[in-house]
Each structure stands twice: as structure tokens, then as C-alpha cells.
């Protein structure tokens, strides 16, 4: 039996998980790394790299490398023109049409880029199942998560990405809801939960009631363009203001890497260095305060929409890497008046929930049920450019709404309908989803036809439309022209294209896996050596020359890492592993002792 998985397709990192013996687990590579950086490098020769390898190429080959593609999903060129300046890749496409990502001489739509990431996750899972000795290790079905505040176009783009990757997308579910499912597993309780999800590129807040195993979303809010990327950009601006703004694309990516490291450092420490200068947590907090503040108003609005006061919330759950920032925790804690939960890894909790949902779908297990809502009101354009709402935001999905149309002229056989999503009064302030032309209305005098248009939002939060002329009971044909999406034919063609490249990708994959393993050993080693207590370890626990041997092995591995010699990388990785064995033991013993002494060991 082929396998089903849950996928968290993140702005910064993506993960894949599955349910094993009733419990969800993240699928890791051989070195234990569960995260696949959502970075794609597409060379001129057609070779595509995804994940850690693509992340490395961001520094050496930035013009063929794309990151944070999630921010472009379901967007038009006009939406994103303004933010192209510091990106290494080209932002292309036709005015008024879907945005495209230009990598060298090639252009890709955001769903195609996302499909590369999804295919990487699919391969990772298949390799894992094969290693487990599964007879049928094919992964052909998946639940994929999206930000709760994603609109119809963004959800559809995500589903298209799954199709292009050769996956049957069983369900699109919302990230905060998925997280609540993962949290609800071990404690089958009743209560009101707020899930605060600040990731790499998006922010969501969802308020849920959990009762009898039903996870019912009461309200949701957010901003699909607010996250860790915005913090990185602020810090990059700070550095560029110091160094001068005209820098090569490679240098910009080095700066980006450095600011991300500084950001991480300041989650554990009071100060670090950035661009050779002392950079304190207080300075950092003052800089990012406006970004964090922007998350608080949607929280208040979500509470109001749920008809609740902050004090009524029983538990607050934090999701997304940006919730590691102490100030975020503090401000969220203050808003809800209680200490937020963070027992589960905020990077992994969404993928775990997606795996649980995938399991529910294939097994039909009725112990748990997710009842989600549509984040934005759905409406149609009426006279005077005003939006008339048909399905209100925070309606439980699936949901329906209908509207009656008639004709304005005698023997008119078609009516144009413009569908939008958003909360504003004027259509210009809302998101255009699609334009429909209702055809086949039987000829009759003006105003006599009664065409009932039915809008259906399914459990994925995706819209479909049907129409019927009531006098004649004739079903209408509807041509859907998505405002910022792909047609079914385009998705089909992209899927076929991807098969042609599958073989060429295989050899590259083996090299990448080797490099990924090497990279994670390097990272682990460097992390240990950067830790504050390392000096103490080196003085007390390491043998004479041991530190030098580790440093030499580290340098050896780094020297071959960029090359294409898989064997050499393999060999040097093992050498580094051997050289650091003793150090790892010492560090681990210390962290165990620290844990026994009740200290915070998160980063020991």
C-alpha cells in the first residue's frame, strides 16, 4: 500500500511527517535533520537543487537561486514589484498576470518552484520508507498545510504545486489548526486555545474550542506577508546602511546569512556581533518591535470575532520559528495573560498535525475532527464597484452561499460575474479571485431570467461555482479565469515536464544527500564550539591536541564540500564524525547534568 504523508510547506523550511503506530513522526535524513530549507537552485543545464545544497548555492550562485517562494504563491506581478530589490532572483511575469521567478535564462511560476520542494520531500519520505524495508514505498498522497489567512488563489496555487509534484493533495489544512491537532493528541481535554503562528513569511492567529475531540476554529486572522523575513530585511538594511548599499548579490546573501545568525544568537544571549559590531538584544528588540506589534491587532480582532475576552483563553500555543524570539513570547504572554506553551518544537508541530490529518483521511478514524473556517469574506462585484458579501469570514467550512442574478437586456444569454475575497467595501480594496461568464441563459425578456449562482467553499477552503437558471432549470456553463492562477491545462503540462527531468535529477540527488549530511555534522560541531561553555570543556575535558584535530577535520571537510566528489565528502564527513565523538559525549554529559540541576538546557 502506498504511503500518505503530511507536509508543512514553509516559507523558510519544509518538513514531511507520517503517522507510525498512531503517533506522528517527522521524517529525517540520515543525519537526523528534519528540515528541508525551502530554497531551490535551478542551473542553466537543467539541474535542480533543493534544500541545504540550494542554500549553499545562494552564496555562490545567487542569480539561479530562489528562497521564500511562498510569499509569491497566488500573487500577481503587480503585488510584488515593490520587494524585488534585495532578492537575488528576478521577479518577472506580465503586468496584471501571475508573477514569475526568473533564474538565469529560465522562468518558473511559484507553484513550479514549490513543486521542486514538494518533490524533494516526497523523495525523502520514499527513501525513508524504502530504508524501513517497505515493499511499496511510493508516496503519492499528502496533506499540505497553508497559513490560515491564505486566500483562495494562494490555496489553489499550493494545491497546483502538489499536483505538479505528482502528489494527490488529499487536503489543504491551516497551519495553526494542524498545530493544535498535534498538541491535542496527548492531552484529550476541553478548552479554548489560541494558536499564535509567526513563521518565516506569514503570521496567523487562530482561536479554537476543543471539545469531544472536535477541534473547532472559532475565528482566525493574520497577515500573509509578515514574518521572520521582514525581521531579516530590517537587519539587512541596518548592515547595508553601514557598509554602503551597492553590494554584489553574493555579498548581499552573505549579509543575509549573517543577520539570520545574529537573530538566532539573540534568542539565547543578550548580545552578539553583527557586521563586526556589538549588537545587543535591547537594540534588536527596539528595531523589531513594530513588526511584532503588527501581530497583536489581528489577535485582538480574532478574540473579538470569537466573542471572547483574552482572559477566557485556557491555553496559548506558539508555532513557527519566529516565536523563539523572547520578545515575541513576552508580548504574546502579556496579551493573553498567560505563559504560552512551547513543549513541542515550533518548527515541527505543523507537519506533525498534517500527518495526523492525513491519517484521519485514509483510516476514517472518527476520534478527532478538524472544523476550520474561511479566513476572508467571499463576495461579488455589484453596481458602483461595491462588494456584496455572500459568505462571511469565520464561517465554518465547507460553506455555501448563493446569489440570484437576472438579465438587463432582452434575450441576453450571458452575465459576467466578478468574484472577490476580502473585508473592505470597495472591490478595488479586495482580492480579485476570478471572473466568470455565465452562458446559456435561455433568451427571454429582460429581468425575467432567474439565475441562481451557488458558491461552495470546500473543506480545503477552495471555492467552486455552479449556476442554474431557475425558470428553465438549465444548468449554466461557467468558464473560470483565475485572476492570478494556473489553468488546469497549464498544471497538467508542468506535471509532464517534471517527469522528463526526473532521471537527470537522480545523480545530483545522491551528491546532495552526502552534502546535507556533511553540512549537518559541520553545523553540530560549530554549534558546540561556539557555545559559551566550550572554553571550559576544552580546558577540562579535551585531550592535548584534540581541539586542533577537530578543527583540522572541520577544515578538511569544508574544503571538499563545495566540490562534486561524493566519495571525498563521504570520507571527510566520517573523519570529522570520529574526531568529534569524544567532544559530543562530553557536551551531552554536561547537558544531562545541567538538566538534572534544573537549568535550561535548550541550547547546551
Amino acid at each position: 500500500m502506498s504511503k500518505v504523508v503530511g507536509i508543512d510547506l514553509g516559507t523558510t523550511n519544509s518538513l514531511v511527517a507520517f503517522v507510525k503506530d498512531g503517533a506522528p513522526v517527522v521524517i529525517r535524513d540520515r543525519s537526523g535533520d528534519g528540515l528541508v530549507p525551502s530554497v531551490v537552485n535551478a542551473g542553466e543545464d537543467g539541474t535542480v537543487y533543493v534544500g541545504r545544497e540550494a542554500q549553499r548555492r545562494l552564496l555562490t550562485d545567487p542569480s539561479h537561486t530562489v528562497y521564500s517562494v511562498k510569499r509569491f504563491m497566488g500573487k500577481g506581478l503587480d503585488d510584488v514589484k515593490g520587494e524585488a530589490s534585495l532578492l537575488p532572483f528576478r521577479v518577472a511575469g506580465d503586468a496584471g498576470g501571475i508573477v514569475k521567478i526568473g533564474l538565469g535564462s529560465r522562468e518558473f511560476t511559484p507553484p513550479e518552484i514549490s513543486a521542486f520542494i514538494l518533490r524533494e520531500l516526497k523523495h525523502r519520505a520514499e527513501a525513508f520508507f524504502a530504508a524501513q524495508g517497505e515493499v511499496d514505498n511510493e508516496v503519492d498522497r499528502a496533506v499540505i498545510t497553508v497559513p490560515a489567512y491564505f486566500n483562495d488563489a494562494q490555496r489553489t496555487a499550493t494545491r497546483d504545486a502538489g499536483k505538479i509534484a505528482g502528489l494527490d493533495v488529499m487536503r489543504i489544512i491551516n497551519e495553526p489548526t494542524a498545530a493544535s491537532l498535534a498538541y491535542g493528541l496527548d492531552k484529550r481535554h476541553t478548552g479554548l486555545i489560541a494558536v499564535y503562528d509567526l513563521g518565516g513569511g506569514t503570521f496567523d492567529i487562530s482561536i479554537l474550542r476543543v471539545e469531544d475531540g472536535v477541534f473547532q476554529v472559532l475565528s482566525t486572522g493574520g497577515d500573509t506577508h509578515l514574518g521572520g523575513d521582514d525581521i531579516d530585511l530590517l537587519l539587512m538594511h541596518k548592515v547595508l546602511a553601514e557598509t554602503g548599499w551597492s553590494q554584489s548579490a553574493e555579498r548581499v546573501q552573505e549579509i543575509r546569512k549573517a543577520v539570520i545568525q545574529a537573530k538566532w544568537d539573540l534568542s539565547d544571549r543578550e548580545e552578539t556581533t553583527l557586521n563586526g559590531k556589538r549588537f545587543t538584544r535591547a537594540e534588536f528588540e527596539a528595531m523589531i518591535r513594530p513588526i511584532v506589534d503588527r501581530t497583536l491587532e489581528p489577535c485582538r480582532q480574532a478574540l473579538k470575532d470569537a466573542g471572547l475576552e483574552a482572559a477566557q483563553i485556557d491555553e496559548v500555543v506558539l508555532v513557527g520559528g519566529s516565536t523563539r524570539i523572547p520578545m515575541v513570547r513576552r508580548l504574546v504572554g502579556e496579551l493573553f495573560g498567560k505563559t504560552p506553551h512551547s513543549e513541542l518544537n515550533p518548527d515541527e508541530v505543523v507537519a506533525l498535525g498534517a500527518a495526523v490529518q492525513a491519517d484521519i483521511l485514509v483510516t476514517g478514524n472518527r476520534d478527532m475532527l478538524l472544523l476550520d473556517v474561511t479566513p476572508l469574506s467571499l463576495g461579488i462585484e455589484t453596481m458602483g464597484g461595491v462588494m456584496s458579501k455572500i459568505i462571511m469570514r469565520n464561517s465554518t467550512i465547507p460553506a455555501t452561499g448563493s446569489e440570484m442574478f437576472t438579465t438587463a437586456a432582452d434575450n441576453q444569454t450571458a452575465v459576467d460575474i466578478h468574484v472577490l475575497q476580502g473585508e473592505r467595501e470597495l472591490i478595488a480594496d479586495n482580492r480579485s479571485l476570478a471572473r466568470f461568464r455565465l452562458r446559456g441563459i435561455p433568451p427571454m425578456p429582460a429581468g425575467l431570467a432567474r439565475v441562481q449562482v451557488q458558491f461552495q467553499i470546500d473543506a480545503n477552503g477552495i471555492l467552486s461555482v455552479t449556476a442554474r437558471e431557475l425558470r428553465t432549470d438549465i444548468e449554466q456553463t461557467i468558464e473560470v479565469k483565475p485572476s492570478y492562477g494556473l489553468t488546469d491545462d497549464e498544471v497538467e503540462r508542468m506535471l509532464l515536464d517534471s517527469f522528463e527531468h526526473a532521471e537527470a535529477d537522480f545523480a545530483a540527488r545522491l551528491l546532495i544527500e552526502e552534502r546535507n549530511e556533511a553540512e549537518s555534522v559541520i553545523q553540530a560541531t560549530e554549534k558546540t564550539m561556539r557555545a559559551p561553555e566550550f572554553a571550559d570543556i576544552a580546558a577540562k575535558d579535551l585531550a592535548a591536541g584534540e581541539q586542533q584535530r577537530i578543527e583540522a577535520a572541520l577544515a578538511d571537510l569544508k574544503a571538499v564540500l563545495g566540490g562534486d566528489d561524493r566519495e571525498a565528502i563521504h570520507e571527510k564527513t566520517h573523519a570529522l564524525n570520529d574526531a568529534t565523538k569524544h567532544l559530543a559525549e562530553v557536551a551531552m554529559n554536561r547537558s544531562v547534568q545541567a538538566a538534572l540541576a534544573g537549568r535550561n538546557v535548550k541550547d547546551v
Partner: protein
Amino acid sequence: MTSPAPAIPRNADYFSFLGLPRKLMISGDDLEQRFRGLSRQYHPDYFYNAPPAERRMSLERSSYLNDAYRTLKNPMARLEYLLQLEGFAAKSPEEASKQVPPDLLEEVFSLNEELDEIRDMRAGGAEPAQIAARLEQARGPIDAKRAAHESQLEQLFARWDALLDRDAPPAERTPVLEALRARVLERNYISNLLAGIEKEMSA
């Protein structure tokens, strides 16, 4: 294994679908429990592997359930839905808001006068605080009317439910339904008025 989800019966309404009588006073906890129970029966999650026809029915039924739950949860939406079922639907909202309900004539008349004066004050360059205080004062009678209105509605809800309990004949039901419809119109009108004042205050 999945049990089949039958299509929505042709004569179904939101009340019967949730197994409730057409009463206006509904226990929130009871409604929530019924909603969760039926969601567990019909939700598309449980029909993923079912034949297409069953999947379609599951989608239809759970959509209908969600619409029913949303409508019946809110007392005013519930009332308007009941009036529509009983054939006492108010006219279209635009039409309804044009005509001042007779019981409100006096308040509306004096409010409009007040608002005119406030506009004059504003045009004359009066202090914002002064204008705000004046507006607050102007909405006093309307707020009072709304409070009175709430208690009238409560009584009518109780009367309607009592009529249902003893299966009263249509001749007794009609006046209660008409009174309820009048209250709906008034309430919508008051809401519009208050929205108008809010707008005036934020201008």
C-alpha cells in the same frame, strides 16, 4: 469504512436538520453538541475513500449543517430564518430600511434634527469634544429604545415557544409572528441609525 451520508431531505429546514423544534429560545450548549455530533457523521474527512456520489453528499450535508449552525447560533439570524420559514419574511433589506417603522417615528425625527444641528456645529468650527458629547447625547434615546426592544423581543420569543409547546392554531400564531416581524424591521432600522451616528462620530 464509511457509513453512507444520505442527501439533504427535500423538505428539510435548519431546525429539523439539527433535530430541533422551531423554537426561538435555544440552549447554546445543546446546539453545539448537536452540531459536533452531526459534523462527526457528515464531514468530508470521513468520506475521503467513499464513492464520488457519497463524497458529494457528504459535502452538501456538512455545508448545509454549517449554514444551519451559523444561522441558528445567532438569535437574530435565527428569528429572521424562522419568519422566512413561516412565510413572514421581511421585505428585502433595502426596502425595509427606507420606511421608518411607526413606533420609531418620534425618535427618528428628533435624531435627524439633532444630527442636522451637529453638522451645523461642525461647519461652524465647534470643538471635536463638544461635538462628540452632543452626539453621545443624541444617541441616548435610540440606545434606550434598543434596550426596550431587547426585552420586548425576549417576551415575544417566550410567547412563540409557548405557542409551539401547546401546538396552538395558526390564528394564534399569526399575531405573534407579525409582532416579531415588526421588531425585526425596527431593530434593523435602529442598527442603521446607530451605524449612521458612529459614522458621524468618526468623521
